[in-house]
């Protein structure tokens, strides 16, 4: 197969990636590939390196060794000023939500559109679309403090989706949620995945992973075990 064609289909590739924090090995010689449109769970016990792996993918951290290829680009080599533009191509759902507490649900989602310079006249239709998708249309004018944990997580998801990203990264998106809400959130991820988005979900929620039946990348002590 033509090499360019291979790299086109391989959306994300970790190649011998290692990361240490002082003497603590967070990730050790990690190599794996994720294809375009694939849904991958990153799993493992606490401290196994799941979050570090996602932070490397977000280019929030740099590895000590190895390459991280996204599309055709080694993101390790990105210059500081290029990083925001790289991040604009992905949607991130954080474990601790990271919503803006002083902005309404609608404004939280709008911020993501403002960041990528979408004209203001397009905001209403795009925001309404994702709020309907995550079931928060009725809550659009409320502040995060007026929402439940599951609803806040959905705000975070709506913000990630509204920019129409190629890759979605979610760090323990169901960590603080009950089974029913967690299932709803994962159903949403599956729906989004069917639209062709590549999805990385860090989770240690065995039941959810079993229910979803997707590919699992398992880490233990910073090493890839599955």
């Amino acid at each position: 197969m033509d090499e360019n064609l291979v790299s086109w289909f391989v959306m994300v590739k970790f190649e011998n990636v290692s990361k240490k924090f002082g003497n603590i090995i967070a990730l050790s010689d990690i190599t794996f590939e994720v294809e375009d449109g694939e849904f991958v769970f990153i799993t493992g016990p606490s401290g196994s390196g799941k979050t570090t792996l996602l932070r490397l993918l977000m280019r929030e951290l740099l590895p000590d060794h190895g390459k991280i290829i996204v599309g055709k680009q080694d993101i390790v080599k990105l210059e500081g000023k290029e990083v925001p533009f790289y991040r604009q191509g992905m949607g991130v759902v954080f474990q601790d939500f990271k919503v803006l507490p002083e902005r309404t649900v609608r404004e939280n989602v709008e911020v993501a559109l403002a960041v990528i310079n979408i004209p203001q006249k397009e905001w209403i239709s795009r925001v309404d679309h994702v709020l309907k998708l995550v079931g928060l249309m009725e809550r659009a004018e409320l502040f995060p403090s007026q929402l439940s944990g599951g609803e806040i997580q959905r705000v975070s998801l709506a913000r990630a989706l509204v920019v129409n990203p190629k890759i979605i990264i979610a760090d323990e998106p169901t960590g603080n949620l009950d089974w029913e809400t967690a299932t709803q959130i994962m159903d949403l991820f599956e729906k989004i995945n069917k639209e062709g988005k590549t999805i990385f979900v860090a989770s240690h929620h065995e039941a959810i992973m079993k229910k979803m039946g997707k590919r699992v990348v398992k880490l233990k002590g910073g090493k890839l075990v599955k």
Binding site: M58, E60, K81, P84, R87, Q88, E110, V115, Q120
Partner: protein
């Protein structure tokens, strides 16, 4: 409303005391800048008045021909140190005398043109030339006496007056410049501190914006708008206060300085002068805000 404006104004609304202190310091600074600019303008006008009025009067002898007068006038006109030379005949001298004594017509009736000498009046391009020029003119055969403008009290007094004015203007400029520099530095520091405080309170938001791909310019936008707002309000308040005070004092100043136009008497010109001051202050202020905003954001992002 644009998201950056919304963020900036909500920041101002949420921290009214920070906003108030920024505006207060900037208002005081630009009030002083406006008053100082007006003072410099007035002292320049005052100096210019004394420098350009006829400073030297060469009283001519009675028995000289018009050819001799023309010859001397021509020669002085070619002298680079001399400017605005004017011949005043005996009749014109009488007319000036009559005008000066309108309060007491009896004084004017007692005199005839013959008792007034004709004269050549002129100014000097620089008062430092006064001594030499006067000596040279005194030595002319057609010249009877030479003196500075009489009502200022003679040679030494006029020179002293102008020198004193120059010195005052110089110190007003120097002292004012230093003072304004210090005030601008204080305003700049206050602005940077307030913006940095705002960035500290927005640290969480900035972290989130960073993670979702916001560029430095996006993060900087609301901060710069906030700084520009403080500066615009501060400049305007300082300027308008100085303008009102100047308008209030104008009648007294006009009466005190009489024919010396230290401030424009025409309303349009006065507004024009203050308009120019406002424009310049806005440029200075906006530059301060931009530099302060950029500096504060850079420091804040580096700290992160």
């Amino acid at each position: 409303m644009n998201i950056h404006f919304k963020t900036a104004f909500s920041g101002i609304r949420r921290s009214p005391f920070q906003a108030f202190s920024a505006v207060l310091v900037l208002s005081v600074t630009f009030f002083v800048v406006t008053i100082l600019t007006i003072s410099l303008y007035a002292s320049d006008k005052l100096l210019n008045y004394f420098e350009t009025r006829p400073q030297v009067i060469a009283f001519l002898k009675d028995d000289i021909s018009s050819g001799d007068i023309s010859f001397l006038q021509e020669r002085l006109a070619q002298d680079m140190r001399v400017k605005d030379i004017k011949y005043v005949s005996k009749e014109e001298a009488l007319a000036i005398y009559k005008e000066a004594t309108t309060d007491n017509p009896l004084l004017a009736e007692l005199v005839t043109p013959s008792i007034f000498p004709a004269s050549l009046e002129f100014s000097l391009t620089d008062l430092n030339y006064a001594k030499d020029v006067i000596e040279e003119v005194k030595s002319e055969a057609v010249v009877d006496q030479v003196g500075f403008t009489a009502n200022l009290g003679g040679e030494a007094t006029l020179q002293n007056t102008v020198e004193r004015l120059r010195l005052i203007t110089k110190y007003v400029r120097l002292g004012g410049g230093v003072f304004v520099g210090i005030m601008l530095l204080a305003s700049f520091t206050v602005l940077v501190v307030i913006i940095s405080m705002r960035l500290t309170t927005r640290r969480g938001e900035i972290e989130i914006l960073n993670l979702i791909g916001a560029t430095v310019n996006f993060i900087r936008g609301p901060v710069i708008i906030e700084a520009l707002t403080y500066v615009a309000v501060g400049v305007f308040l300082g300027w308008i206060l100085a303008f009102i005070i100047t308008l209030y004092l104008s009648p007294s100043l006009v009466a005190y300085f009489n024919q010396i136009e230290i401030l424009p008497r025409n309303t349009i010109n006065l507004f024009g002068l203050f308009g120019m001051i406002l424009g310049s202050e806005l440029v200075i202020g906006l530059t301060l805000a931009l530099i302060g905003g950029f500096l504060a954001v850079s420091r804040s992002l580096k700290k992160k």
